[in-house]
Symmetry: C2
C-alpha cells in the first residue's frame, strides 16, 4: 500500500478520515480549519495527552490498532474521571514518512473503535512528519448539567473505592520487558487498557465527592486526591483487589502500577456503592496516603524521569 | 536553573502552571484529570496542530518565546477562521530531559502571551520526555450563537479578499535558510506570525460566505475554498498586496508562502469590506484556482513531504 510519505499530507488525511465515523456530537467534522462539537451543557471538559514511541509504547511490543485504542482510552478515561460524557477526540499524528499507510490506518481504526466504546468519535486532527511516532490526543466531553467531579471534594469520613483493574498493565509491561509474552491477560492489559467508562456515571449516582482515573499508580493518584482535598487517604491493602494472575508482585503492581485507567473515588460514609466498585479504605484528617497505617513504598510511574 | 529532567514531571508542571494566568472562560484550570472551559454557545470549536522541532521550527533560528507564540498563534488563527472567539488552549509539550527549565518557561510565556492577545488562556496540557521538542496545541473557541464560517459557503459572484500579511514568513524563512538574519520584518515574521485576530469578527460583520486562515499558502488555501464550495476562485495578481520588502520573489512568496496566518474570505458581491481587507479576486463557476486566468504555479507548503 506504500508509505505515508508517498501518499502526502492531503491524501493521507483523506484516507484516514474515511475510517472515522462521526457521532451525533460532531456538528462539523474533519476538513475545515476546526471542528465544531456539541457542548449542550454550556461547558466543555477538555484534556490532552502526548504518547511518544519508545516511552509510552514500543512498536515491537504493540501493534498500531492497540496503540490507537490505548491513546484514545487514556484521554477518554480522563473525561469520564470528571464525571463527563466523552463527545469527541482530536488526534495529532506525527510519524516518519516511511511509515506504512496500512500501519496508520490500523492506528486510526483503534482510535475510532475505542471512541465508539466510550460514545465519542474522532472529529479532527493533524498529521505531520517526525523522526518517531508521536500521538497527541485531546478528548472533549459534556457534563450534562452536573458539577465536575474533581479531586478536591474528599472529606474525612468518606469511603475510598476503586472500579476497574489495578496492576494488570504494569505486570504485563514487566513481563514484556523480561522477554515474555504472557499471560495474555497481563500483556494485553499493557497493550490495550480497558477503562470501565461507566464508572463516571456510577460514581456520580452514588454521590461521589472526588474521582480520578488511575494513570500513575493507585497510591500516587490517591495522593493527588489527598493533596487537592486537604485530607489523608488510608488504604487497607487486604481490601485491594489482587487477582492471582498478577503473581507474587501482585500487591505492589496493584498499588503502584499505572496505565490500567481504573477509577478511584471517594464517597460519603453511608453511600451505597454499585457491586462493581470495591471499598479499599477511608478518608481521614491529615495529609498524604497511608497503606495499612504506614508510608507507602516508592515506585510510582513518573512520566518525566531523568 | 537546571534541566526539566532534574525537576521531574510534577514540579515542572507546577513551575509552568504558575506562569499561566487563567481567563474568565476557564472554569477549572490545570491540576485535575481535565480542564473545564465555558462553551456558552452550546457548541465548541476545536482544532489541533502538532509542531515538530527541525520541521516547523529550529531552536537555532527561533527562541523559545517565539516558538511558544507561533504554536499558539497558528491554532488560535484556526479558531478565528471559523468565526469563533478563542477561549482556551491545551498544550502537549514533549522535550528532551536535558532541556533547560528556563527554556521551557520562556516557551510557556510565549504561549500565554499569544493567548492573551487573542483573548484566551492556557487551561491545561501534558509534559512528556521525548528525543526532540514537539508541541501539540489544541485551541477551543465559542461561536457566540452564529453559524461557523466554513470553507463551503462561497458562491459564484462573491468577492475574494484577504486580511493580514502574505509571504512575509516564507520570505523570512528563505533568508534564514540562506544564512541571512534580515530584514527583521521578514525573519521576525517567520519566527512569530501575527494573525490579525479581529479578522473573524470583521468577516462575519461584512457577511462573509467562507473564511479560512492562510497556513499552506494563498493559492493552495483558496483551492480548499474552491473544492469545499464547488466553485472556482479567480485571483488577480496585481491586486495581491506585495510590499517592496518582500523582494524580487515577492509575488511568489505572497501567492505560495504559508504560515503568516493571514485570513482569506469570500463575501457577497455588494459587501462593504473594512479598510483592513483587500479585495484580490472573484468567485466564479468552475473548479480550482486561477491566477490572472491561468493555472497557478506549483510550490505550496506540504506539511508531509517525502
Amino acid at each position: 500500500m506504500g508509505t505515508i510519505g508517498d501518499l502526502g499530507e492531503f491524501a493521507l488525511i483523506a484516507t484516514l478520515t474515511r475510517r472515522l465515523p462521526q457521532g451525533p456530537a460532531v456538528l462539523l467534522g474533519p476538513g475545515d480549519d476546526a471542528a465544531v462539537i456539541g457542548a449542550p451543557d454550556g461547558r466543555v471538559v477538555a484534556t490532552t495527552d502526548v504518547l511518544v514511541e519508545g516511552r509510552h509504547f514500543r512498536r515491537d511490543w504493540s501493534g498500531p490498532y492497540d496503540i490507537g485504542r490505548k491513546a484514545a482510552a487514556q484521554n477518554l478515561a480522563d473525561v469520564v474521571a470528571m464525571g463527563a460524557r466523552p463527545t469527541a477526540l482530536l488526534v495529532g499524528f506525527a510519524a516518519p514518512p516511511a511509515t506504512d499507510v496500512e500501519w496508520a490506518e490500523r492506528l486510526y481504526d483503534g482510535l475510532a473503535h475505542e471512541c465508539r466504546a466510550a460514545g465519542a468519535s474522532v472529529a479532527g486532527g493533524d498529521v505531520v512528519a517526525a523522526p518517531e511516532v508521536t500521538l497527541a490526543v485531546t478528548a472533549l466531553g459534556d457534563l450534562g448539567g452536573a458539577p465536575p467531579l474533581t479531586r478536591a471534594g474528599a472529606r474525612p469520613g468518606d469511603a475510598v473505592a476503586v472500579r476497574g483493574r489495578l496492576g494488570f498493565a504494569a505486570a504485563g509491561l514487566a513481563l514484556l520487558a523480561a522477554g515474555r509474552d504472557g499471560p495474555a491477560e497481563l500483556t494485553e492489559a499493557h497493550r490495550r487498557p480497558r477503562p470501565p467508562y461507566a464508572a463516571g456515571a456510577e460514581a456520580r449516582a452514588a454521590g461521589a465527592t472526588a474521582l480520578l482515573d488511575v494513570s500513575d499508580g493507585l497510591v500516587q493518584d490517591l495522593g493527588h486526591i489527598a493533596a487537592a482535598s486537604g485530607v489523608r487517604v488510608d488504604v487497607e491493602s487486604a481490601a485491594v483487589p489482587v487477582p492471582a494472575v498478577l503473581g507474587p508482585d501482585g500487591l505492589r503492581h496493584a498499588l503502584t502500577g499505572g496505565e490500567d485507567h481504573a477509577f478511584a473515588g471517594t464517597f460519603p460514609a453511608g453511600a451505597v456503592l454499585p457491586p462493581s466498585w470495591t471499598r479499599i479504605g477511608t478518608v481521614t484528617e491529615g495529609t498524604g496516603v497511608r497503606v495499612d497505617g504506614r508510608e507507602p513504598p516508592p515506585g510510582a510511574w513518573d512520566h518525566f524521569p531523568t
